[in-house]
Symmetry: C2
Subunit: 358 residues, 2 copies
């Protein structure tokens, strides 16, 4: 045999090879098929007979073969490049978002880049940076996703945009979010089910469409229970702890104070709790309090907050899937009525709400 000739290239190869990992060719050899067949099994693309598939899969398992991502993307060149544009590197939900997008991007064979964007920056600069890195699509989490100047600017730069945790749809971009109104309604129903009849609501600033949705959900639940929404039981804050303190102060100073307070976010709920503590009201015995968002704050205060959990991880994944699908075949989507996905929420019952005793 011409072993000498055979071994020469293997010698050089071994010198260059990175890890000791088996390659697709190794699998093919073991399975007794061509590399192409293995590739097809791995990507389960085309029609393959069950027999070939089984042989290949066995060989993959035997060797512990893991495809080389770099080689794959180099050869394929059909891998999409996405960027996650974020504003605040320490935003509470960013890590969960990041993890969700990163994992899903991996599963979708897409590359995820990270790009920060400060509000005082020019949108054109961001677009230029993204284009330089050959980004095709942008994942835009809240609150950036509500900036229509930014969304339009990205679209003008021929970048597809998927908005994450958006309150409502926006023309020209894919959107994923939750149903704020339904969530607020459910939380209110939870309080009603606990026997509360006089419920205070701390609304958020009118500048955000989200605030109106949450308030509407609150009112809707009362209506469905045949209760009138007393204007004195609605106070407005600006999503900060302090505004929650003040709003609760106003609500509790009422001649007919509430037995429960539902705040439009966790920070305001925590503020309301601080006020309750100061007034000597024991939570939840004398006053039930609940929040919205399930941020770290919800578990940090005592008693821990009953709140609405946003499906952050799911939103991140769905947005990524949607964006990749859009990039793969824009034709699949009606160009001026892009999907707006609303995912289910979850009411997390903790220690800050309890049955109302008269």
């Amino acid at each position: 045999m011409n072993n000498g000739i055979q071994e020469e290239p293997r010698g050089r190869r071994a010198r260059r090879r990175g890890g000791p990992g088996p390659t697709l060719a190794d699998v093919a050899r073991l399975a007794g098929v061509s590399p192409m067949t293995v590739s097809r099994v791995v990507n389960d693309s085309a029609r393959i007979t069950q027999a070939s598939r089984d042989k290949v899969e066995q060989a993959i398992r035997d060797l512990g073969y893991v495809p080389n991502q770099a080689a794959r993307s180099l050869a394929g060149a059909r891998q999409h490049r996405l960027a996650l544009v974020y504003e605040n590197p320490s935003a509470a939900f960013l890590s969960e978002l990041l993890l969700g997008c990163l994992e899903q991007a991996g599963e979708c064979d897409a590359v995820l880049l990270l790009e920060s964007f400060r509000a005082d920056e020019e949108v054109t600069d961001l677009v230029a940076r993204l284009q330089r890195h050959r980004v095709e699509g942008v994942l835009l989490p809240a609150p950036l996703c509500d900036d229509s100047t930014l969304v339009d600017g990205l679209a003008a730069g021929h970048l597809a945009v998927a908005r994450i945790a958006a309150t409502q749809a926006m023309a020209g971009a894919l959107s994923v979010g939750m149903d704020d109104e339904a969530a607020a309604r459910d939380m209110t129903s939870h309080l009603l089910a606990l026997g509360h009849r006089r419920i205070g609501f701390i609304a958020g600033s009118d500048r955000f469409p989200m605030s109106a949705r949450r308030r509407a959900g609150f009112c809707r639940a009362l209506q469905q229970a045949n209760l009138a929404a007393d204007p004195a039981m609605i106070a407005t804050g600006d999503y900060t702890f302090r505004s929650g303190m003040e709003a609760a102060q106003a609500l509790l100073a009422s001649a007919n104070p509430p037995s429960a307070i539902f705040a439009s976010n966790d920070d305001m709920a925590a503020g309301a709790m601080a006020t309750a503590h100061r007034l000597g009201l024991e939570v939840p015995r004398a006053l039930s309090i609940c929040g919205f968002d399930d941020t770290a704050m919800a578990r940090a205060v005592w008693p821990e907050l009953t709140t609405v959990r946003q499906p952050v991880s799911n939103m991140a994944r769905e947005a990524t899937i949607l964006l990749v699908r859009y990039l793969a075949s824009p034709a699949e989507f009606a160009s001026h009525d892009l999907p707006d996905l609303r995912l289910g929420h979850e009411i997390v019952v903790r220690a800050s709400t309890t049955r109302h005793v008269t």
Copy 2:
């Protein structure tokens, strides 16, 4: 000319090329040098004449060339594979950590994988997963990095470990962290400089080495100011909001109550603030309060907390650099006395501390 032959491959090539991005060969052609020279400039590896370098750099700028990462790693195979092993996907500092590691890994030409690990899992399972993905080094943030079983298990699987935000060094692993004692000392000095003479301290649970360090820093600062540390002015919590409330209650119930309270983390500081509110003590006028860590909690409460900012992003980057350097040349490091890097902290003065008026 044999144009027909020349153009045939270009036609096929254009069909397969992904983006319209220029390649290294394009740059070489424009600069009138060989691809190899361009590669050398890009990696600024070897000796290149200034003339060549300039020509190439100009061509790179003209074409807006960006190296193809996939091709690079495929050809080079000298790229290191790291994994960030995390426990809690929504931990406050994870996003900043993630961002830091991700960015630095990119700059170091390393690939960063993410792997979650639940405390109830077998370490060997984790090691197997990591090995399957050809991971060579692991970034291990707090609190996982203090689990010596885990660190040893990883080491046993021939994985290099870099611990992030570790309180103290551990044999067999690289460590990066802050100087808890110095930080606590500085924060105490801040209070002393504001005129406070009777300062309450809320220590953390003795199970964590960190707690002792922070307490030692507090005591040291008092000593340096020639003040005796009154045992009645030290209460112990367990890093939760509630324990902070209770500890503050105890401190403030003293016959000679403190004018300031320094809690070993932000959650306990927030708890202390809740107690102060309940007791009708205005913060900071009647009681200054400060925390540690600068988590989201610090900015969420009102008034916002004066606290110690951990250099999370820097720790992440330094750990990544250290790990990559270790993998590149383990020989550079003394095998049983691996580096333990202590990074500088920052005292963030917000609204919860003020000058003490007698």
